[in-house]
């Protein structure tokens, strides 16, 4: 075979007739975050105080759902213990704040402590797969709140701790200040996550999720990637917990039950696993669905059901969304645009 023939044969690839999607260029995450920030600030001026408080709660939830969707959706590690990591961040903020009354310092300490907790759990988690990993994180979700009873002199058992906070500037209403604080933190967290996952680290996370053998051969240290993913996710949960402590101005084990961890997982699945937009949807649902459940409970007069109605509502929404859009709420726009393209 001549050189010319060889070169020709090298370029001979059979036509598959497949409609190959073009590579999509997405806007830089910083642009999306700035737009989101402007929208949130605008909303805080038009919403009444209670809605601003709900908006602030969404911001806090967004931190944890964004971290969890990176861990579970992109890296394939299922955590049923993120409520416990939130509790770790919340209690750390409360203890530090009550001693030094310095919010930035308290947040920094909360981040450090949850980083350490995430590293310890992540090291164990990197050795486990599937149901065993879920079991480990479930145990963490159960054990951590009970620590407050064991060391009740420090954590004040079921009563919990109040959080001493300096009041916001007089010109800013409390709820607006809370919304700014929570969304400021959430947008910084999400921007860092978005920058992290759009590069090599993000590819490594997904490669480990999809095929560990091929990932190893591509030069990825599986255990290190998994531990890093857990630490990143734990830090997000710690920030969220700290924000909840500021929002409620108190922390107690009752605020971080096992059902919270389950709600978090359901929220990221409904929103769209592995998508930061999906995590945003999840955060919105985490605030709105319990409120909806509460109002349904009040209208039907079933006071006994009220506590469990939120779980029922979440379950129903999960089933409906999975049937209608298996990729979660975040996948709906792309599904619609695909349908439109197909019908053209």
């Amino acid at each position: 075979m001549t050189d010319m023939q060889q070169k020709a044969s090298a370029s001979t690839v059979p036509e598959t007739g497949l409609n190959v999607p073009k590579r999509r260029r997405r806007p830089h995450p910083a642009l999306v975050i700035v737009a989101g920030g402007i929208l949130v600030v605008a909303l805080t001026y038009v919403l009444p105080p209670f809605r601003n408080y709900q908006l602030a709660t969404m911001g806090a939830y967004f931190c944890v759902t964004a971290g969890l969707t990176v861990l579970t959706g992109l890296n394939g590690q299922l955590s049923l213990g993120h409520g416990a990591l939130m509790a770790t961040g919340a209690y750390t903020l409360a203890l530090t704040q009550n001693r030094w009354v310095n919010l930035p310092l308290s947040f920094a300490v909360a981040v450090l402590v949850t980083t350490a907790a995430g590293a310890v759990i992540g090291l164990a988690a990197a050795r486990l797969r599937g149901p065993y990993l879920a079991g480990l994180t479930l145990a963490v979700a159960i054990v951590v709140p009970s620590v407050t009873s064991t060391f009740d002199e420090t954590f004040n058992s079921d009563q919990g701790l109040s959080v001493i906070l300096n009041p916001p500037p007089e010109t800013i209403p409390m709820e607006r200040w809370q919304a700014w604080l929570c969304w400021g933190a959430a947008l910084v967290v999400v921007l860092l996550l978005a920058l992290l996952i759009r590069g090599r680290f993000g590819r490594d996370l997904r490669a480990v999720r999809d095929d560990e053998t091929a990932a190893k051969l591509a030069g990825i240290n599986i255990a290190r990637t998994q531990v890093l993913a857990f630490v990143v996710s734990a830090v997000c949960a710690g920030v969220a917990g700290a924000l909840f402590a500021v929002l409620a101005q108190s922390v107690s084990p009752g605020a971080f039950p096992l059902t919270l961890s389950l709600f978090l997982v359901m929220a990221i699945v409904i929103g769209g696993l592995g998508s930061l937009f999906g995590a945003l949807w999840g955060a919105v649902l985490l605030v709105l669905l319990p409120t909806l459940a509460q109002s349904v409970g009040e209208q039907t007069g079933s006071q006994q059901l009220e506590g469990n109605l939120a779980l029922v509502v979440f379950g129903v929404v999960l089933v409906v969304v999975m049937l209608a859009a298996p990729g979660g709420l975040a996948s709906i726009p792309s599904r619609i645009s695909r349908l439109i393209r197909r019908n053209r």
């Binding site: 075979m1 001979t12 598959t16 997904r206 095929d211 051969l217």
Partner: protein
């Protein structure tokens, strides 16, 4: 293909691998000189993939040792890429949740991952599929993508585990040309004898874990022990 730093010499010394009562490799030695194309052939279950798994560190030998450039070497899978050793897998082994371009970028461990991944995809004739997900593509295309992921790291030792599986005769001819042009040390496990005989400088034949022949394609094709291993003993 990059020749700086220089190509590496890989050697296996008396490698034995036992899985419980089964001896998968029995006292196998092989020296892969820099720049040579070495084929490893044998009937199913002969130990070819186990040999690859030993070199990649997926399987620890029961006895024997490996050297890289004359130095004792204990391979670890995630260090291979950094050492300039790339391997394709028998079953395609791609990342289903990533696009073709991202799949190849995973193999490129430097700042210019996207550019190098596109170059590798072009070299393998599948750049047009960069935005697709590999699960939606035919097997032969996915094989080429797998090859692109191995080539993107500019390996100095390229290990190909049955790369011709699922390819038609034109594609196998293309593959043979690519292997010869790649200009690096190649270790090739393959059942397609025409491909092995046409591209390899040297061939190791395994049968039930034992090395039964080592030589040039001409020597191997005339070796009666090889014929016996493939066709069975004459009646």
């Amino acid at each position: 293909m990059s020749t700086d730093p220089p190509l590496k010499e890989l050697a296996l010394h008396n490698i034995t691998v036992r899985f419980g009562g089964l001896t998968a490799l029995d006292d196998v030695s092989l020296r892969v000189a820099p720049g040579r194309i070495v084929g490893v052939i044998g009937p199913n279950g002969a130990g070819k993939t186990t040999l690859f798994n030993v070199i990649c560190g997926f399987v620890n030998p029961t006895s024997g040792s490996l050297t890289l450039d004359g130095q004792p070497w204990r391979p670890r899978p995630h260090h291979l890429n950094r050492l300039g050793i790339a391997r394709t897998l028998q079953g395609v082994g791609q990342f289903a949740g990533m696009t073709v371009l991202e799949n190849v970028m995973v193999g490129a461990r430097n700042r210019h991952a996207e550019r190098e991944a596109l170059t590798a995809l072009e070299r393998c004739g599948v750049a047009r599929y960069a935005g697709a997900h590999p699960g939606a593509l035919p097997y032969a295309i996915r094989k080429r993508i797998e090859l692109a992921r191995a080539l993107v790291a500019k390996p100095r030792i390229l290990m190909l585990d049955e790369p011709a599986g699922g390819l038609d005769s034109d594609e196998i001819r293309w593959l043979g040309t690519l292997i010869k042009e790649v200009g690096t040390t190649v270790l090739l496990v393959e059942h397609h004898m025409d491909l092995v005989m046409s591209v390899c400088d040297e061939i190791l034949v395994l049968d039930f874990g034992k090395s039964i022949a080592l030589g040039t394609p001409g020597e191997i094709s005339e070796n009666p022990r090889v014929t016996e291993a493939y066709l069975g003993a004459p009646a």
